[in-house]
Symmetry: C2
Subunit: 464 residues, 2 copies
């Protein structure tokens, strides 16, 4: 059936018709094992060999087939390739997952990838690859390469007011890595606390590791110190620069009081500085770590927000006592970030491109932030809205005063193709959750999309 | 002191210098109570009123001062001076570390990086970067991109006789990732067992996670089944294709007996297939997983040996029951491998370069393996040597019959600039450790270095 002459279809190039027909046959289990050679297939389908080549190349790049040198092209498994009695079971076991398509993604994990400095990044990648150095291939030191840790120290000093020695910096792959290191640096009896509400990934991972996580409520200046004192934690996770999800910035008095409490009660803090780079009024506020004379703060940051989510490069700065423990017990850990990414990023920062990029992105995000807020205020929803947490970060909170509750806001927005998170999602237990409040992430939003977005939000939430 | 004329500093805007000076004075207790009005301060510092406004606004947002309507700006109470970290102390805390330099690296984690297909890898990287696609920047699915998981299924079917559905494949960053997933898939009460001797990284990580690890001795066909039965594990880690460090290949009868035992006693196995690609006699032996009708085997592999250690790409194939648990409890885990590496590798495999590379490396390693063995046998040490585990993998065992013990062999080799591991290092407890045996990793060895290496080994180990 797939290997019979094919007619051109005016809608697309001929090779696409060929590719689609073979793909369909593979998916249907009609074609398995080795494919006809390019010459054979060209004859069977009455098309040129070039057309077959293009079609095969497309099938390879999509993972349907693979090429074996001097042998030919073979269908990959995973497409009904099992024995007939198994085939039905496979399909039942692994049903295709349909994602609902949103037109507007206002989720908070998005970033403006359209601004990624591809040209510079590609040039540096090419440079490094052309040097063909052995160092790109061999394992890096467990903490990561020194050049990148030095660049990070420079960044911390210039942007976050933090002085660090490169030996205190560890690089690793994302929150997953960081949480597992926290888990290992503290004994099983030690108590972990986290703000309520909070970023759910960290506590989900630590819970999965079998940790009981204490939840400490927030007050308007940040974590509630009286509740924290009662919880008696050994480690507490906070985000003072821009609390997730509330968007609070912890004032200096609260910071100093927190440091004093940590010293008195002998606990450590994880300062999660995840989107500290973006602040829309005044200058970035120095990190809590910059005030940390007693070395109570583990500083944690990532390039997810400032560069791209796919990079998977996080880093932490350990206080000396914990660093000693790390060196003693965990220095056998290999760095989970590929060497190549480390070298590219080190050069990217070393040549000043990171500063340039941050400067640009601050402007880009400020424009997006201001435009969305202005459009919301000008809209017919304007007088029913209460905005908070809008001074920093890549999202703010929007409360709708009126009849709708949070779930209704979300489902009505979803029906209009708008993806949002509700604030209650980040509470556990769900105590004192502000009513009818959603998170508005604006990082991915393009100016030309604003009128349509606002019109849909009005449709979704307008009150009779 | 803070209220004297200020000079512009070319590094930052003038208001930042003003803000920093006042902040410094507040922290040092030099300024308290009410601040000069904006007009007064502008005169005192010889700057514009706008500059003072910006500086005061920043101090307000950080919580150093507050504004009282129709009265002015006041320093907030409660500052204490914290000692800044001292540079001299930094240097003393982190003395530079000197590594001894070896001329010959025969450690087992080395690979022949000089054979890495740089040209192809660079071309594919450039291609992908030039496509500037959004997909390179955004997070990948938690298990990794589908195209790469499909290519891995193709590889497993062609090279390891294993049929897998892409949904069963998870990608992650190295042994560190894999061990943490194992730790999470089994409850704390469940019992982990590992061969003695064994690759130390896996059990070190699981021990660090607080697991008690049962050690099961080896017999000449692989893990000792009687001892395994007594240990009653829930999960046991094995490397049947090429045991590390002994180099044993598990025979088919032992494999079948092991699978039967697993079914009877209801335990799972991790098949660590870390260097299965390289076998120097006969054809590659299919994976234990290929015989696993009852779905008892978690298959684990990596591109560390077959491509490069710096890649940090491992993968596992989960049996369906464990996959269900993963989906239910751990599907929130993000993939720890950067998206870009995943796309490059998927295209590399899809275009057939991985097959080509493996074919080439089998030849390269066979040549290195044969040359080293031949040179050792021809040397004056030849008649005192006993070689084992030499049929597969990138190292073999060398036993020296005579006066020297393992520690002496290692220190004498080190004095000659030769880096080796002793077999006893991988035993815990150190019971029935073969005498005077070291691991010879030959992956990095170049043919032209052989005469010098042999001469040094003769110097090191020659007996009077």
């Amino acid at each position: 059936m797939p290997w019979t002459p094919i007619e051109a279809d005016s809608d697309w190039p001929l090779y696409v018709s060929v590719y689609k027909r073979i793909r369909h046959a593979i998916r249907g289990g009609l074609v398995e094992g080795k494919l006809p050679s390019k010459n054979q297939a060209a004859k069977l389908l009455s098309v040129s060999k070039v057309t077959i080549e293009q079609a095969y190349r497309q099938l390879v790049s999509e993972g349907y087939i693979h090429s074996r040198p001097r042998s030919g092209f073979y269908v990959n498994p995973g497409f009904m390739q099992r024995t007939p009695q198994n085939a039905a079971r496979d399909e039942a076991d692994f049903p295709p997952q349909f994602k609902s398509e949103y037109c507007f993604d206002l989720s908070t994990y998005a970033v403006a990838t359209e601004c990624f400095p591809f040209a510079v990044w590609s040039r540096l990648s090419r440079q490094l690859l052309s040097e063909e150095s052995d160092k790109l291939l061999n394992s890096t030191p467990g903490k990561g390469i020194l050049a990148l840790r030095q660049q990070i120290c420079g960044y911390l000093q210039n942007y976050r007011g933090v002085r660090a020695h490169p030996e205190q910096i560890l690089l690793g792959a994302g929150t997953e890595w960081a949480a597992s290191i926290f888990n290992l640096l503290f004994t099983r009896g030690q108590r972990f606390a986290i703000e309520n509400p909070s970023y759910s990934k960290v506590w989900r991972i630590l819970s999965a590791h079998g940790r009981d996580i204490l939840r400490v409520p927030m007050c308007q200046d940040g974590i509630d110190l009286a509740a924290l004192q009662k919880a008696k934690p050994d480690l507490v996770h906070i985000s003072p620069a821009h609390h997730f999800p509330l968007g609070l910035v912890m004032p200096i008095q609260q910071r100093l009081a927190l440091l004093k409490l940590a010293e008195q009660m002998d606990f450590y803090m994880i300062e999660d500085d995840y989107d500290c780079e973006f602040r829309f009024e005044g200058r970035p506020i120095p990190a809590l770590k910059s005030l940390d004379g007693d070395e109570r703060v583990i500083y944690l940051n990532t390039f997810t927000k400032s560069l791209a989510p796919s990079l998977r490069i996080s880093y932490m700065l350990l206080p000396r006592t914990l660093l000693e423990k790390y060196e003693r017990e965990l220095s056998f850990y290999a760095c989970t970030v590929p060497g190549f990414q480390q070298y590219v990023l080190a050069r990217f920062m070393g040549e000043g491109h990171f500063s340039t990029h941050l400067k640009r992105m601050r402007r880009v995000y400020k424009d997006k932030h201001d435009a969305l807020l202005e459009a919301l205020r000008q809209s017919s929803l304007g007088k029913h809205l209460e905005i908070s947490g809008e001074k920093a970060g890549l999202h703010f909170l929007l409360r709708l005063k009126g009849e709708l509750n949070e779930a209704e806001m979300l489902s009505r927005a979803a029906a209009q193709g708008i993806k949002l998170s509700g604030l209650s999602e980040f509470y556990s237990p769900k105590i004192n959750v502000p009513q009818a409040t959603v998170l508005m992430g604006f990082a991915k939003l393009k100016p030309e999309e604003l009128p349509e977005l606002i019109s849909r939000l009005q449709n979704a939430w307008s009150m009779p």
